[in-house]
Symmetry: C2
Subunit: 234 residues, 2 copies
Amino acid sequence: MQTAQRSSRRERPAKPALSRDGIVATAQRVMRAEGLEQVTMRRLASELDTGPASLYVYVQNTAELHAAVLDEMLGHVDLSSTSSSDQWADSIVASLWSYTGILVEHPGLARSALVTRPSGPNYLAFVEWVLSLLQLGGVPAERSAWGVDLLLLFATSIALEHGTRRQVMDAHDDEEALARAIQQASAEDYPTISALGDRLISGSPRERFEWHVRVILAGVATTPVPKPSPQAPR
Amino acid sequence: MQTAQRSSRRERPAKPALSRDGIVATAQRVMRAEGLEQVTMRRLASELDTGPASLYVYVQNTAELHAAVLDEMLGHVDLSSTSSSDQWADSIVASLWSYTGILVEHPGLARSALVTRPSGPNYLAFVEWVLSLLQLGGVPAERSAWGVDLLLLFATSIALEHGTRRQVMDAHDDEEALARAIQQASAEDYPTISALGDRLISGSPRERFEWHVRVILAGVATTPVPKPSPQAPR
DNA sequence: ACCTGAACACCGTTCAAGT
DNA sequence: ACCTGAACACCGTTCAAGT
């Protein structure tokens, strides 16, 4: 066991200099230990033994901090391909599911992913992976370009939905309220809802997730993108 | 012009009794005037000339308040059908676009819609409307039941995405950072991204929105739902 | 240039005490 | 039962002042 006293002149360990990397690393550690809710400017400052104002030299605001943590987490998305190459759709389902799983643990990051167009290396690697699978599946380039957006939007918002509900207590109440509302829906005011009944909330989350992804893939395969409009497309 | 002095004994107008409806109505008014960010327990309390603690007699928490405001707003979704009945898909696109437009103005409500399973009358009326159009389009009941979820999830998260970006300053920075990242993506590390280039961010929001919805509709029309699993489906 | 203490302007929610 | 003041336990961000 090494003693805490090192060769430095003072007895207390030298306070490490602040740096963007140090701040982001601390953010990561705090998130892993206590969740993203604890990743606040004030908490990080106290963790780094300084005041919150000091952090503003290195990061613009809390959103930037969360975006940095997000990209780090996206390094853990499972990008392993299934053995047979004709199962490109299965691979897309699998990697999106992995992505969603990571964000469900940290719904705040899902929010980040939805709101701040991510552009970090790990995010790009994930996009690249999905695009390459779509290409493998023979999806025309233009449709892949727009389709990958829809796939990621779907996976992100499912994570935000389920993740937030998981960490809020009343989630079960809402679920029950909806089930009751559906069951009590009058056949007069809501004929279709009332006819569908429980089928509206049937299936496991995983079943619905997979079906939703396959719906998008099937749709992308058959829906041509519109011709670029004559006006400047932006 | 009526004088402020009425027949009541005191000079100051009698403070109206608190009630859930009164609180929700105030919430609505404040939101319209100053945005959902101002709809806080403290602000509402001061608006109603009392302390924040008093409101907890009538609403459980802020989330419940926002959910009530949400359903009210959903009463404004455009549910008018297109003339010819074979254009059911156009009607779905139109009503989802209307729904998204409303939530883009109030991204906090979009967040509510995503996180708290809504079950108010106006929400149900909207679901009923979309379901009836799917039925009109000949979509099998089981697929409608799961498909309406995907359609609403999509419309809600698009609203959350664009609405939040609109009200945050840095949104343009993010957009630029992504565009730069795509342009600079090395053909070695990200071959597909680099090959697609600007096509990844082409098209107007409206074009992309409509294409996304049509993708989902096409997918729903061709993707069978799995057979209910033998285990209890919940 | 970097760092800081203190302040500004807020939050949601709880609780003991009153009416 | 309903209502309240005050407190608890926090936020993000800015700014003037220091080193």
